[in-house]
Amino acid sequence: MRCGDFRQSYAEDMSLFESPLPRVLLAGLLVFLLVLPGFASTYWLDVLSRIFIAIIAATGLNVVTGYTGLISLGTAAFLAVGGFATAAMAGKAGLPFVVVIPLSGLLTALVGLVFGIPSLRLKGLYLAVATLAAHYIVEFIVTHWDAMTGGVNGISVPPAHFAGLALSDDRSMYYLILPVMVGLLFFTKNLFRTKVGKAFVAIRDQDISAEVMGVDVFRYKLLSFAVSSFIIGVAGSLLAYQARLISPENFPITLAIDYLGMVIIGGLGSILGSIFGAIFITLLPEMLRLATDALGSYWPSLMVIVAPIKTGVFGLVVVLFLIFEPDGMAARWNHIKAYWKLYPFSY
């Protein structure tokens, strides 16, 4: 049994993994995810793809909200920007997805940058309302710029093509989304052990002291908005490829709130938190529906009655969860890890 850490060099001490075990586990998980489409049903692949996209977007939101401490209600809007940018570039300009996805991200980053400007003066919930404004402004533009976005009727997105093959089914979408997610997670995880990421966290914890440490607070807040919206924009782009038709109705304000829920329940300022949160919030309704469907198929007339129960259980789980783990799932996870690492000498 390992009973402590022994490290020889700083490089080793700074590595992502504390010991070889997690490294192996992670590699195993990756391999599993890679071979999964071989035996999972397309429905579950679709669910997984949605979870992956949610993970990406939640990670993006976590950059700005969890790590930099700027509460954002603009997630749905940024997803929309990424999505409609993709629709325009892939549909109207016929660009290939390898160009479209990063460009959509960049465009969203630009938009994010603009809506980040109020963060020069606004803090906390006041800033949240500026991002809420961003939501409604983007929504307005999207519904009214018919030529570009298809207006209220939405716009179709042609399937991504890879080596002449249309990635139109769930399996190929899965293989498109998975690597993007892994890449972005890798990027974000690294970002937060280097200068820029640490500056973000510094701003969150104590902005005056960050400023005094030489961090140009406003610049880094903008940068945080840009990075965050880039990631969310990429998620939006993938979402567009997956949905194949997007309209303003895909991006309601409640979606932004759902995402905020993900990062809070998962854990603010934690990549693992975004992952847990995204899985939880995406999967919970799915599970609840499976459960109520099962009920409903025994007593069909129950369908109408059990429907609100689903909403209620969702609310209840969220409430109970926060009561028992107010710091998020990632905190619980670390706790368990810390406990087992020192087991049986837990004090």
């Binding site: 700083y10 490089a11 001490d13 700074m14 990027f187 974000t188 690294n190 970002l191 052990r193 280097t194 200068k195 820029v196 990421g197 640490k198 500056a199 966290v201 510094a202 969150r204 914890d205 104590q206 005056i208 002291s209 960050a210 400023e211 005094v212 440490m213 030489g214 961090v215 140009d216 607070v217 940068l223 990075v227 300022g269």
Partner: protein, 254 residues
């Protein structure tokens, strides 16, 4: 040329005058103490020097350049570092991360390099880590390296804050009551660190401190503020003998 010159600073907040017409100089390599009763404007003075407050009137010159209009961050880049009276550490982070943020101005890597990590960013991080570890060793805080700062006892947090300021490798270090909340032994340790920093590293310092024993022993020069005005300025001995200072600050006890 003095390292820092403060000219006729005037600072007031809606009805409260924090500084009225304060001027003084700090020469290179000095350990300069600022003392004065509570609410005299000492912290405000430090805030003006580091750029957290902007005075209504007067100027601050650092290395001959007028920095009055510069942001705190740009002053830090020029070599001004500080600690805070009410401890302003990044509470949620570990000691190590706190110090690494102190290296911010010395790092060149950008967003992309950082995100990709392997390559130049990693080399730079390791180099920084070495600098930081030296400081950790120097201040004897190895044992709490990986602890989250918010859970540390008060006295240790003060020390971590000093460490973070040192990580900036500043030319001018501003200390706001570095020894508050310490017992005699810890004060001695702290005094030893401050002297070492001043003498071995040659860092110029301005220190606010209420413990007159320490001030008299370690500082080269003392400026005394009372109700926002400078009432005395001189060597520790001169200041200690000053009647106005005794009345306003020291009392009969000392």
């Amino acid at each position: 040329m003095p390292l820092l010159r403060v000219n006729n600073l005037i600072l007031h907040f809606r009805g409260v005058t924090a500084l009225s017409d304060v001027s003084f100089e700090v020469r290179r390599g000095a350990l300069h103490a600022v003392i004065g009763p509570n609410g005299a404007g000492k912290t405000s003075l430090l805030n003006c020097i580091s750029g957290v407050y902007r005075p209504q009137r007067g100027s601050v010159e650092f290395e001959g350049k007028d920095v009055t209009r510069l942001s705190p961050a740009s002053r830090t880049r020029m070599g001004v570092a500080r600690t805070f009276q009410n401890i302003a550490l990044f509470r949620g982070m570990t000691v190590l991360d706190n110090l690494l943020i102190g290296r911010h101005t010395h790092q060149k890597e950008g967003l992309l390099a950082g995100g990709i990590y392997y390559g130049p960013a990693r080399r730079e991080e390791i180099a920084n880590r070495e600098v930081v570890e030296d400081i950790i060793d120097f201040l004897e805080i190895q044992h709490i390296r990986k602890k989250v700062v918010g859970t540390l006892a008060y006295g240790l947090q003060k020390r971590v804050e000093l460490a973070r300021a040192l990580a900036l490798e500043p030319k001018l270090l501003l200390l706001d009551e570095p020894m508050a909340g310490m017992n005699a032994e810890e004060k001695e340790d702290m005094a030893r660190f401050i002297l070492d920093i001043n003498e071995d590293r040659g860092t110029t310092m301005i220190m606010i401190e209420h413990d007159m024993g320490v001030v008299m022993d370690v500082s080269h020069r003392v400026t005394v503020l009372s109700f926002g005005e400078k009432i005395a300025d001189g060597t520790p001995q001169e200041v200690q003998g000053d009647r106005a200072v005794q009345e306003a600050y020291l009392g009969q006890a000392q």
